[in-house]
């Protein structure tokens, strides 16, 4: 595949129409954004924080958080950095903004003002505009990132980067397939090409902006190789446009050894694929997401899930962990619940910081080899489908089911892949759909699932998948029959 940055002229042309999609767009100018970014103290630059963590072998902790109104949002973030001792801050964007429905976001702001509490599930950064973003980024002392789920986040990126955010989550696949229904994959990929070009432009001008593709996708029984392939592809697309600080993510699967293998292989494979594609000037870091599937309702149990994720992060030595709260199963957490998740995480990480826990072992090696081969199957298929153009390769791969994300809402995702846990809780494939996996690989998956089926005295069916989806929220890892 050939990697080529978008022509600057094309970028500027597109830019005009992007900024015109909502009134706050007109306040943004590139040079002004750059000047503003240049004045941000180093300690608040996200890319630097990530590379610092890598150099020092530290794991930084970051919550998710966002509310409708600026002052409330600032209060929330400040609480998370003081009481919660967050190392990195988020600004989670509301779901209307994610779908570019700024009118509805405006209604949400109004209703929230009237109600005295947030009726939006995030911070409507586009509606609040450049000034609103700057108020937020100036009010905190830690590096701060935009976290969302927006297929077309071009305006959001323009406003928030000029507004002082130093990291931007997402990607053309990972912010479409799990987050949208009818957005053409080519469209979102091209929108993210624009965003990555914008980030690349900041980099060219000496301002480092961290880019973080969203690894967990649907967060539900995702076999590591599917997320890894998407993460590596989005990493390549970001590098293509000049981004340099790349953080790839993986969501906790629940089997500790599979998670350790996944985290270690994500780092290795991404590095290899990036270099093979000719990129050398990149700073790769890894983020681990605490359990992204359904949580137990009981808070004591939720704390256990949070702790287990933190344990894995410590054992794997990732640069960042995204933290859940004990309210996860119920609703957007209060600031106290959010801080509680951070404190639990911090405590586990600090207790484990000087410890070596599980080094390499045979099972981890087996799983890493498996992931390596699986990723190779998928990456080759994309390459073969691409005709040289990575975006084409991805679009065609999804169309043909060569890439397929389980449980995703997008109609551009085949949705034929069904995962289930094996008898030890490793996530395997029950139905591979059209994924281009070799027969040997599928034989291994099937064999492992057959072992479980035998142990449970039932066949591998959709019921097993459903049971597995519910399992952690019902205090189990594997959804066994009663």
């Amino acid at each position: 595949m050939r990697y080529e940055p978008m022509a600057w002229k094309d970028f500027l042309t597109q830019r005009k129409s992007v900024l015109a999609t909502w009134p706050t767009g007109k306040d943004v100018d590139l040079e002004g954004g750059l000047r503003y970014q240049r004045d941000i103290p180093e300690a608040k630059n996200f890319a630097r924080a990530m590379s610092g963590a890598k150099a020092k072998g530290r794991t930084l902790i970051q919550p998710r958080a966002g509310v409708a109104l600026i002052d409330d949002h600032i209060r929330l973030l400040r609480f998370l950095e003081t009481e919660g001792t967050a190392d990195l801050l988020p600004t989670t964007i509301d779901a209307y903004t994610r779908q570019n429905r700024y009118e509805e976001a405006a209604v949400g702001i109004e209703k929230s003002t009237a109600a005295g509490h947030s009726l939006l599930n995030g911070f409507p950064a586009v509606n609040h505009g450049l000034g609103g973003c700057r108020r937020v980024t100036e009010a905190v002392t830690k590096p701060i990132q935009v976290r969302h789920g927006t297929p077309d986040a071009r305006l959001l990126a323009e406003i928030s980067l000029a507004g002082g955010f130093t990291s931007f989550e997402g990607g053309g696949i990972s912010y479409n397939i799990p987050y949208a229904k009818k957005v053409e994959l080519g469209d979102s990929l091209r929108a993210w090409r624009y965003i990555d070009r914008l980030v690349g432009w900041y980099e060219e001008n000496g301002v480092s902006i961290n880019r973080e593709p969203f690894g967990p996708l649907t967060g539900t029984l995702l076999p590591p190789f599917i997320g890894h392939t998407v993460a590596i592809l989005e990493g390549l697309l970001a590098l293509e446009q000049g981004a340099k600080s790349i953080t790839l993510g993986y969501g906790q699967g629940g089997n500790v050894l599979q998670d350790l293998a996944a985290l270690s292989s994500l780092r290795e494979l991404a590095g290899e694929y990036f270099e093979k594609a000719g990129f050398t000037d990149f700073d790769l870091t890894i983020v681990f997401h605490q359990w992204m599937g359904g949580f137990p309702e009981d808070e004591a149990k939720a704390f256990a899930v949070i702790s287990l994720g933190s344990f894995v992060a410590a054992a794997a030595g990732v640069e960042k962990i995204i933290v859940k709260s004990p309210h996860e199963a119920a609703g957007i957490p209060t600031k106290e619940a959010n801080a509680a998740g951070l404190k639990t995480t911090r405590q586990i990480l600090s207790m484990l910081t000087d410890q070596i826990i599980c080094g390499d072992n045979d099972i981890i090696r087996r799983e890493k080899n498996l992931i390596r081969e699986e990723v190779a199957c998928l990456m080759n298929a994309v390459e073969n489908a691409s005709g040289g153009d990575p975006i084409q390769g991805i679009v065609r791969a999804f169309a043909g089911g060569l890439l397929d994300v389980p449980f995703a809402p997008s109609i551009f995702n085949r949705g034929r892949v069904l995962p289930a846990r094996d008898n030890e809780g490793f996530i395997r494939l029950f139905a591979k759909g059209n994924l281009p996996l070799s027969d040997e690989i599928m034989a291994f998956h099937k064999e492992r699932l057959a072992e479980r089926a035998k142990a449970e005295g039932r066949a591998v069916t959709f019921q097993m998948v459903t049971d597995d989806i519910y399992a952690i929220s019902k205090s189990k890892l594997i959804g066994r029959p009663k």
Binding site: Y96, H117, L119, T220, A329, G331, I332, T334, I469, S473
Partner: protein, 140 residues
């Protein structure tokens, strides 16, 4: 009104598709003809589908917190479109933030829903209620 037919979907700009797929499988298994509209369904789409299939009930999911805003007015629109006996069920994480279930239930009952469910609801119970409610609604 066809007592077998129900319409299912996730309202608003909500992308949570996992529960929706499970509900589809579960209610189909339980003998209903499910018209599953998937995620990101507008009030109009729900009503169109209900009219088209002569459905006995609409099962609305909302997980992402905007349920309050998204569901407002659905009952009125149903009546407008002549669906005056249709059952409206709603379930999920209906409001922003952890909120006592009783408050949430009241809010959505007031909006005109017949039943309101928490995410942990036992689906077997829901099937029973739905059958009973449909039977009651079918009586002249």
């Amino acid at each position: 009104m066809n007592p077998q037919n129900i319409v299912l979907g996730v309202i608003g700009a909500d992308c949570h598709s996992v529960g929706n797929k499970i509900l589809d499988a579960y209610f189909s298994e339980a003998g209903f003809h499910v018209t599953n509209l998937g995620v990101m369904v507008s009030q109009e789409e729900f009503i169109d589908a209900a009219v088209e299939t002569d459905a006995a009930a609409i099962l609305v999911s909302s997980l992402y917190g905007h349920g309050e805003i998204d569901c407002e007015g659905l009952r009125a629109k149903c009546i407008e479109r002549g669906l005056d006996r249709i059952l409206l069920y709603v379930g999920g994480n209906l409001v922003v933030g952890k909120t006592p279930y009783e408050e949430v239930e009241k809010k959505f009952l007031d909006m005109g829903f017949n039943r309101v469910f928490r995410p942990q609801v036992d689906l077997a119970e829901v099937v029973k209620m739905l059958k009973a409610d449909i039977a009651a609604a079918s009586r002249p």
